[in-house]
Symmetry: C2
Subunit: 290 residues, 2 copies
């Protein structure tokens, strides 16, 4: 099989990798050219400028996952409704240049009253499944919009989004909490776990978040520690509403600094975590073509 190019094209940035026939990464590159930063909306030009060298060998195929397939992206690739696995995604690849460049559609969960959606995470899930040798389990992809997905029989059977990362940004930068909070402070694990535990008190996020302000007013929480405490409150609130598999493992996929926080918080609940990073994306794209 020829080279495969995998591109994860998100809202604010993109990453690409050139993979050999067995899925090993030969080369990687990234650029701050997320779908909201594409000059004149000319996706083809950005793609060519970054990847035309990689695309030269005859038979090279490129799969693009993420927000590039959204309404604001290169082309809109309709969501595939779950339950769905790699087979369903393969059947619905949206070919921009047939046999050469395709968009991977996202997944929708339309089984409940209010629908849910993901774009890009589905590829990471299928990649982590392959890397971990798993066909079932609970997967979490922390981030601006965290995804919790249940996998059974190799297919995503349902999932839920939590706006955890976005809430952290809003509260730490734009709310009254920002006045006494150092958003970029390094993690204080003990304070973070105090926040995680606090989130389970039954008093709700709207109240517990104000506690960050009140503790600061009383000199009981420094600006650096406030950041760890708020992060713990939010991740704890996210965990509070999940059905965690007692004694079993959760697979976390994302940036190491973020999955480490989830591992800490889940550890407090007695749940083990197996983590993956960017390699899950590349393995997922490979899984879609083999």
């Amino acid at each position: 099989m020829s080279d495969l190019i995998a591109v994860d094209w998100g809202t604010s940035s993109l990453r690409g990798a050139r993979l050999d026939a067995v899925g090993s990464v030969l080369e990687e590159k990234s650029a701050p050219l997320g779908i909201l930063n594409v000059p004149n909306g000319d996706f083809a030009a950005v793609f060519a400028s970054l990847f035309s060298d990689w695309m030269k060998p005859a038979g090279t195929v490129c799969l693009i996952s993420g927000m590039a397939g959204s309404r604001q992206g290169w082309v809109e690739a309709p969501y595939v409704a779950c339950p769905a696995g790699p087979e369903e995604l393969k059947r619905h690849l949206y070919w921009i240049e047939p046999g050469r460049i395709a968009i991977v559609p996202g997944l929708s969960d339309e089984q409940e009253e209010v629908p849910d959606v993901m774009r890009g995470e589905e590829v990471q899930i299928f990649g982590a499944m392959r890397l971990a040798g798993r066909t079932e389990g609970l997967f979490v992809l922390p981030g601006t919009h965290s995804k919790w997905a249940t996998v059974q029989g190799g297919r995503v059977t349902g999932f839920r989004t939590c706006m955890t990362g976005e809430f952290y940004g809003l509260l730490s930068q734009h709310s009254i909490l920002a006045r006494t909070l150092e958003a970029d402070a390094p993690l204080d694990e003990a304070v973070f776990l105090r926040g995680v535990a606090r989130a389970g008190n039954g008093e709700g996020l709207l109240h517990n978040a104000f506690g960050v302000r009140a503790l600061a007013l009383f000199g009981q929480l420094s600006p650096a520690r406030s950041a760890s405490y708020l992060s713990g409150l939010l991740i704890g609130e996210e965990l509070r509403t999940q059905e965690l598999p007692s004694g079993r493992e959760v697979i976390a996929i994302g940036a190491p600094a973020l999955t480490a926080r989830y591992a800490l918080a889940l550890g407090q609940r007695g749940v083990k975590v197996h983590t993956f990073g960017a390699e899950a994306t590349w393995a997922g794209v490979r899984a879609l073509l083999t």
Copy 2:
């Protein structure tokens, strides 16, 4: 007794009233000169420019409640710890000009692990108690930071803050939801109540908020209706964590457009609401001097 001037000096604006001996309002004025907008931090100059005419008659007393007594205000008036009633506040008035101009201290609740604070709402609560002829009950003061206070024997025995209004502002103006939400749209009561009910589904605010986005993507929620739905989600989340008195009444104090939303949401839970507006502030200040 001479005239009494009541001033509610908040973060972004202030309101003042001149009251006669029985508490009737003779005159009112307001200005966009909240504590964050006082030129050069010269509170005395702003006070004089607005109220020197009212202060002329000999024996006139002015009580100022709200954020003017905070660290960023005119002077910092230390919180009075609850349980506290009008008697405790009277003893801790912070006199800027003895016998003439005083700051009403706020209340703190330091009975739990994480403290809570209010400034200004305590005066409204004592005013509403007087107007309603009540010495006990559950009071809600909706706003940027909603307060829920329990009153027993004429004193506030405990309270909790919820950042409901601030969360609405952050989500409707600065989050991904803002792209498909018309923040100033008029209230759609049915959609609002759908949001209130949704908040009780056990899936948490971080997830339910993303539902606003997903419903919009699927064409199931217009930008105008998204505002009502999000408002319902947030107020419903606030109510979810309160111990509501079944079959009894809650006293709501605030702007009519806001207390009306709480009355709707509480009505869905079978709780009646008795509402008060600015008159509660003026009655509360009067209660502190009689």
